[in-house]
Every structure is written in C-alpha cells, then in structure tokens.
C-alpha cells in the first residue's frame, strides 16, 4: 500500500487520457484508505497475531514461560469446561436465533402489510430496546425475574399459581434467551422491514394479477426478496450468540449458584484471563472461539449461496 503502487489497469487508461486523470492523484486512493488500514492492522490484526503467538506458550510457576506448540489447543478441545460452555451457547443459538428472527420477520411483514393501525408507534416501540445497554437490560429483567419481589412472582402469588422460577438451573438459558430476544428483535425487524419497503410494488401487482392472495405474495414474492437481509441478520445473530457474555455476567450476581465462571465460552475465556491469570490458555481459548465463529458464519453464507445458485 505504498504511494508507488499505481493502479495496474489504470495505467493504460491514463496513457490515453492524461488530461482527465493527471498523475498528481495517483497516490490519492491509498492515501484515503491508509489511516483506516493502519489502525486496522494495529488494532485488529496485531492483537490477533499476538493472541496466536501467546497461545503457543505456557507459563508455569517453576520454569517460567516455555514454548509448548499446540499444547494449549489440545488441552482446550478436550477441556470439559470449555466444551460445556460451547455446547450451552450452541443450544442457546439453535433455539434463540430462529425464534428471534421469526418474530422479527412476522413483525416486519405485519408492519409492511399496511393492515395495521398505529404502525409507527408499534415500530418504534419494538425498536426501542436496541437503544438500551445490555447491562441495563440484564439488570431490569434480573429484577423482573426475582423470585420474591419480581412482579411475575407477585402476580402468581396473588392468583395462587405456581411460582415461575426464572433464575433456576432449568430455566436460566430460557431466561437469558428472553433478554437477548427482547434486546434484538426490534433491530432485526427494522432491517427486514426496510428491505421489504425496498421491494418494487409492481411485483405485488403482477402477483395479484396472477391471482395471488396476501399470504401467497408474502411467501412467494416478499420472502425471496428478503434473502440477503435475512442472511445478514442471521450471521450477525450467530456471531452475537457465540459471544454471549454481558447478560450471564450480570445475572451471575443474583444467581451465582446457577451461572458459574464457565457458563458460556466467553465467560470462561474472561475468567481464565482475569481471575486465574492463565493468559496463554485464555488466548488459545479466545482464538479458538474466534475460529469457531468464523467457520460457522462462513458455512452459513456458503450454504445460503449454494442454495440460491442451485
């Protein structure tokens, strides 16, 4: 990315029309891109490289830091705590992401149908949680879930019903899924909604002319047009789920017996680095987690693209 690298296929063009493209701005493209790329290398690639480097070492009280090759990775892939965390996050993902995206899709279709009164109020209201920090969201829901003082518990007590036990072992993953869904449905809904508004209306008229009803149009015209937007929301949701940290970290304070320090893969990496000071192993774990996310995201994109082309 130096100033001397002139564009290869512009050279011939420039030779032909030197007046339109003076040599003066030959370096301008790299110049505009450089500040971003420099910071990108320093703040993105360098930490990744550093993590890769660190993950190859081990620190022992006796003997100091030694090169151990891929030992940390071998330990990580058979570490029951990490496997449990990854599996838990995977379970979460497989249930929460489809539910959230389906809800977002239904809301977007309802808003786009023109059948709704107060559509503007509904749209903004569903989106508002996106502006709420996940810390605040977890604090609010944590309180609402409360077994004695939470309003759900109070209501079920008043009606003599069985107490919902949101913060117990069996319910916790669902309770976390509810918080994440609450936070992100609106964001995904808006992406899908805006994509729906961009569909040319001639398509609906043509479909209606062919005798398609509202449902048929939604299924055969709107859904295929939503593909790229759905894929985008799906990839972002998968990346987000694997990184699950804030919500369990906050709920840990009120349910310490249920959420341990390895509840999600990310919590585990965090506590390795900052509680047990196993920096090298933490680097290997977070590097591994990053690789898993990239593989799953790519697999998702590839399957979607293959299905489209076939």
């Amino acid at each position: 990315m130096t100033a001397t690298t002139a564009a290869p296929y512009e050279v011939s063009q420039r030779a032909r029309s030197t007046r339109r493209r003076p040599v003066r701005h030959r370096a301008a493209g790299p110049l505009f891109v450089a500040p971003f790329l420099v910071l990108f290398v320093l703040l993105f690639l360098a930490p990744l490289a550093y993590a890769a480097y660190l993950s190859l070492f081990q620190h022992r009280l006796i003997g100091g830091t030694t090169f151990v090759g891929l030992d940390n990775y071998v330990t990580a892939v058979s570490d029951p705590l990490l496997i449990r965390g990854v599996l838990r996050v995977a379970t979460f993902l497989v249930i929460q992401v489809p539910v959230m995206l389906l809800l977002a899709l239904l809301f977007a279709l309802a808003l786009d149908s023109g059948l709704l009164r107060l559509a503007r109020v509904v749209r903004l209201g569903i989106f508002v949680p996106y502006a709420v920090p996940s810390v605040v969201a977890a604090l609010m829901w944590g309180y609402l879930y409360g077994p004695d003082y939470g309003p759900f518990a109070q209501l079920s007590k008043a009606f003599g019903l069985a107490m919902p036990r949101f913060l117990t072992d069996g319910w916790m993953l669902g309770s976390l899924a509810n918080i994440v869904t609450w936070e992100w449905v609106g964001y995904n809904m808006i992406i899908l909604y805006v994509a729906l508004r961009a569909i040319p209306h001639d398509l609906y008229e043509a479909a209606a002319m062919d005798g398609a009803g509202a449902w048929r149009i939604a299924w055969s015209v709107k859904l295929p047009a939503l593909r790229p937007a759905l894929l985008l929301t799906m990839v972002f949701s998968v990346i987000g789920s694997f990184q699950l940290f804030n919500e369990p970290n906050l709920l840990q304070r009120i349910a310490p017996d249920v959420i341990d320090s390895a509840y999600t893969a990310n919590l585990y990496a965090y506590s390795l680095a900052f509680t047990s000071q196993q920096v090298n192993y933490a680097a290997a774990v977070s590097f591994l987690l990053g690789i898993v996310i990239v593989i799953v995201s790519y697999a998702l994109l590839l399957t979607a693209n293959r299905r489209r082309s076939s």
Binding site: M1, T5, A7, E10, P22, H25, A28, G29, V33, P35, F36, L39, F40, L43, F44, P47, L48, A51, L54, A110, S113, G114, L115, L116, V122, G125, V128, P129, Y130, A131, V132, P133, S134, V136, L139, M140, Y143, L144, Y149, W182, V185, G186, L192, V194, A195, A198, P228, A229, I239, F245, N246, N249, L250, I254, N266, A283, S286, F287, L289, G290
Partner: protein, 310 residues
C-alpha cells in the same frame, strides 16, 4: 451491488411512503383489528421492562421489595432518587455519564471520519491490492469483538495503554461495518462527474474530499456516527477488562459495579444501593432513546443501505 438508488429511496420509503392517494384510502378500509391487537400485545412485551424501570425509579429500595412492581408505591420519590443518584460518592455517576459521552463521541466521530475517507478511497479509486484489502476488512466483521478484546488487552498492557481513555477509544475507531456502509454510500452519493469537474477546476484530492465529497456523504456519515455511538455507549466488555479506576468507568461498568454492591453489600432491602442502580439505569437510557426518536430517519436509511445490498 445492483440497487443503485437504494440509499436515497430507503430514507423516503421508511417513513412516509409516497403512494397514490386512492391506494391509501383503500388501505384504511383494509386495516385489520385483530392484527392491530396482536401487535399491541407484542408492543406491551417490549415496553413492559421500560415501564417497570420508570415506576421503579420512583421508589425507595425498601418499596422496591415490598410494593407491587408494576405500580407506584404510596410515596413516590423520583426527584429524591435522582438527586441521590447524582450525588452518591461525590457525584461519581455524573462522572460516568461524562466519560461515556466523551468515549462515545470521540469514538463515533473518529470512526465515521476514518470510515468515510477509506470508503471514499475504495469506492472512487483503483489501486493495487484494493480489493484484497477491502475483503480483508470485511472478513473482520466476523471476528468476534470479545474474542479480540482479550488479546487487545494483553497488547495494550504491554504498551501501557490499559486503564486510560485510549483503551476504550482506540479499538472503537476501526469499524469494518462503517467502512462497508460508507463504501456503498460513496459509490452512489458522490458522482464521478463531480470529482472530474473539480479536478479540471484544479482542486486537489484532499480538497475535493473535504469540501465536496464530505458534504454529499453527510447522511451516510450520520448513520455511521449513530451506530458507533450506540455501540460505544452500550459497550460493557471492553471497558470492563481495560479499566480499573472507577473514575474512568463508563456508565455501563459503573452501573454493574453498583449492582454488585447492591447484591453483595447489605442484605437485600437494607442496602440503599438498589434504588440508585434503578434510577441510574433509567437516567442512562434517556439520552439514547431521545437520540433515536429524533434521528429515526437516519438510522433507518442506514439500515436500508446495509441490509438490502449484498
């Protein structure tokens, strides 16, 4: 990259679709009451925690545990709570608010400027390696921020940036998604003919960028600013690991530390911290919710750009 006019159209259609009057009239007749009721029920779910937060911030810690969660207590004390929150511990909450504001504004303006320059550079210039560099940055969207945060912390610890505001601002300056948006936006919003005309008039490339392109890029810039602002404002993981000094905390980490005091110190209703956590949470979301309501046209058009084009 086929929908060339999407960015401008997304803005207009998202809010008030310019449709023929006759159609709008028929749409009014078609409004569905069951669907409206279903959507209002959904809306209740999304607004319930916020309603609870509003009600709860009028209560003393004692009342938070003893009165019904979804209604006011006998002695509302919103102003007392706000005053207590703002003055607790020598006004540390105000400090957190100011910190958050500084981090968020510096990060978002810096990120938007870098993304705009780089997006413009990628969109309007051809140079060696431009495609490879762009794809590399785009691929970085998939690298999870939390997996990146631990190595970034270790690297920053080496160069003694940990526990300074730079530890929060620097990593937020690189926004791959912002670059992606700005590149697409620059492609359409800055016509080649305008650049050529300015060149013929003898303007330098930097002059063209700052005096002409930046003006045309303004709506896209606002979108990137808004999204980076929210991301930094809501960020919890990065400041949690980077900062030890409570006086440097942003509001998210500050609230979480108060919350753990409310749970840990003082047994339940005896601690006064909980009312502060609740009122602080309420105060912390007001600025963003207001910003989103005021600027909705911009974020919707921004999502249109990102979500529709693939």
């Amino acid at each position: 990259m086929t929908t060339a006019t999407m960015t401008s159209r997304g803005t207009a259609t998202a809010d008030r679709a310019p449709r023929p009057a006759g159609r709008r009239r028929s749409a009014v007749n078609r409004r569905s009451i069951p669907l409206t009721i279903a959507m209002l029920a959904a809306l209740a779910y999304f607004l319930l925690p916020l309603f609870w937060l509003l009600v709860a911030s009028t209560k003393s810690t004692q009342d938070l545990f003893t009165t019904f969660g979804l209604w006011l207590s006998d002695s509302p004390q919103l102003l007392t709570n706000i005053w207590a929150t703002l003055t607790h511990d020598d006004g540390v909450f105000v400090r957190w608010l100011v910190n958050t504001l500084i981090y968020a504004v510096a990060s978002s303006l810096g990120a938007a400027l870098l993304a705009a320059a780089a997006g413009y550079g990628f969109a309007k210039f051809r140079f060696r390696g431009d495609r490879a560099a762009f794809n590399l940055v785009l691929g970085a969207v998939m690298v999870p921020t939390t997996a990146l945060a631990i190595p970034t912390y270790l690297l920053f610890a080496k160069v003694e940036l940990v526990n300074t505001p730079w530890a929060i601002i620097l990593p937020s300056l690189v926004s791959p998604f912002g670059l992606y948006l700005m590149r697409i936006y620059a492609q359409d919003a800055v016509p080649d003919s305008v650049i050529e005309a300015a060149r013929i008039d003898g303007a330098g490339e930097l002059q063209i960028f700052f005096r002409i392109a930046m003006r045309l890029l303004a709506p896209g810039l606002v979108t990137v600013v808004l999204f980076t602002l929210v991301a930094t404002w809501n960020n919890y993981f990065l400041p949690l690991i980077m900062l030890n000094d409570p006086r440097l905390y942003p509001i998210t980490v500050g609230l979480a530390s108060w919350a753990s005091q409310a749970v840990g110190g003082g047994s339940g209703a005896n601690s006064d911290m909980l009312a502060l956590v609740v009122t602080g949470s309420m105060l912390s979301i007001v600025p963003l919710v207001v910003a989103f309501l005021l600027l909705q046209r911009y974020w919707q058009s921004g999502l249109a750009t990102g979500g529709v084009k693939q």
